[in-house]
Symmetry: C2
Subunit: 307 residues, 2 copies
């Protein structure tokens, strides 16, 4: 596999819509997408059910998804408590978001940078007692890394400096998140290179991109060009973007997978099966809009995946 | 200017919708977009009015657009007759499409490759009698270069071989057209490099991209990365794509200009003015859908163009 597409629809997509998908449907979705060759799926988030009732079944989903062969089961955790839940459930990977914009962090999770770093340190302490082979991989998602809707532009030096701090604490990896859809390809390459130069080449491999201004796939291309190997995306762009009608929130898995496979990069995904999963999930969410273009246009005539 | 955005909405956009825009409105659009800093506009096509009544006023538009300071006035010509009209009207640039898929060429313009090459040779003969300084620049658009909805995949060697033939005839430039939205960034770079290697570095500078599978901006990024300097696009993606609901036909000028300017590449375009032109044109075409995301999301908070 050249590029790993990490499906975040069951977490980032479903947390953004009002419909609560039944657990059985979520399992069908996760199993179908794993069967289409998607090798990593973020199945939920360990947040209190009163905050996100859409994701209240995350523990059950982790347990189920672990039975699917070859699948990396990822979850989001907002804090130490969530990390404890993720470890207990047996997630293979857990990510905690840390907003580079401190204003956004205070508003969103009511924590300063110092408080977030302390929480991350506590999670790392917790992980130290577990054998590496059985503990989840722990990643910090650097959100608002490309700009903030409250603060505006975010200095690249600040992103790198915070990446250094969390890597020094001992996290396995950091990820770059364009939470606001402000990012551009040149900025993405500079940020990735800056983190590699200051934190080590192995400490950053993935990006989480939004399509708010239509730049999602161009940014994904920049990520691949510079050598990043994991790209988050959401089936049918589920969740959308309230700021831009017609824009998906996350980039659309089908369009991304088509781009990469057409370029000859192996994702492990069978495009025809993936397009069928989209239709299946659309039937489960009849009142939710799905995004992206490849599904409607179809694969090009005579298109063959390198296999 | 680092990258020239060539606006094709008044030609490619308007020929694809049923609404016939009044000539006065077209002039308003062209003048407003030129005032926003767009330096090249394809104002129409010299095809018979019975074929495309939407573009019957092309000669008048060329004459008008020539009065706008600094604007390169481009037109499409389907044949020798169209080229004669373009020369008479005083166009600065004229392009003739030649479909790399001969099946498509026969179906679309009822001409084989040999017949198309003869027509191009006749146009070049015609141009020889005119002083270079006053004649239009003459380009051949290599359409279906990335694949054909009838033939399927198109061999890259065939694109390069036809490019060589038309360059040998004496055209000023060729352009790469992804008529079908089949293209991917890796293919684009290979095709450009192949044409440069075989025809000369100065013979290919521009691409015409479609967004049928959502790949438009990623392909535009690949074009810029490899060193192409002219990219066609359409304001609001006017014209759409019948194959993919929600997809623009051409890539969307606003999203493209935002990407390039955000990357620090100079297009000469004032983004705020461009977004205002979009609103103005939408008011002129109240029943036509416009596409793209930057207009709805707005420019990022605190975003400043390098100027």
């Amino acid at each position: 596999m050249d590029i790993e597409i990490s499906e975040v629809g069951p977490r980032d997509g479903l947390q953004s819509i009002d419909t609560i998908m039944p657990t059985a449907d979520k399992k069908t979705w996760i199993a179908a997408q794993a069967a289409a060759g998607v090798s990593e799926i973020e199945v939920g988030s360990f947040v209190p059910a009163k905050v996100l009732p859409q994701l209240a079944d995350t523990a059950e989903l982790v347990e189920y998804a672990r039975t699917l062969p070859g699948l990396t089961v990822a979850v989001l955790v907002p804090n130490l408590r969530g990390a404890q839940d993720a470890i207990r459930a047996g997630a293979h990977k857990m990510s905690i978001p840390l907003s580079i914009s401190e204003t956004h962090s205070l508003k969103n999770v009511k924590r300063s940078h110092e408080q977030m770093l302390e929480e991350i340190a506590r999670i790392i302490e917790l992980l130290k007692d577990i054998p590496v082979a059985t503990r989840p991989k722990f990643e910090v998602g650097l959100s608002t890394a490309f700009g903030c809707t409250i603060e505006g532009p975010i200095a690249e030096a600040k992103v790198i400096s915070i990446a250094e701090k969390v890597v020094a604490l001992g996290v396995d990896e950091v990820g770059l998140s364009d939470t606001t859809g402000y990012g551009n390809p040149a900025q993405l390459k500079r940020l990735a290179q800056g983190i590699w130069d200051n934190c080590g080449r192995d400490k950053l491999n993935g990006v989480h991109l939004h399509n708010t201004r239509g730049q999602g796939l161009a940014n994904a291309l920049a990520a691949v060009d510079i050598g990043l190997t994991t790209i988050d995306s959401s089936l049918g762009g589920i969740g959308g973007c309230p700021a831009a009608p017609g824009a998906s929130g996350n980039i659309v898995t089908e369009d991304l997978a088509f781009m990469l496979e057409a370029m000859g990069l192996k994702t492990g995904i069978d495009l025809n099966k993936l397009l069928a999963v989209r239709e299946q999930v659309q039937r489960m969410l009849p009142n939710e809009e799905m995004y992206g273009f490849t599904s409607a246009a179809g694969l090009p005539k005579g298109f063959r995946q390198a296999g």
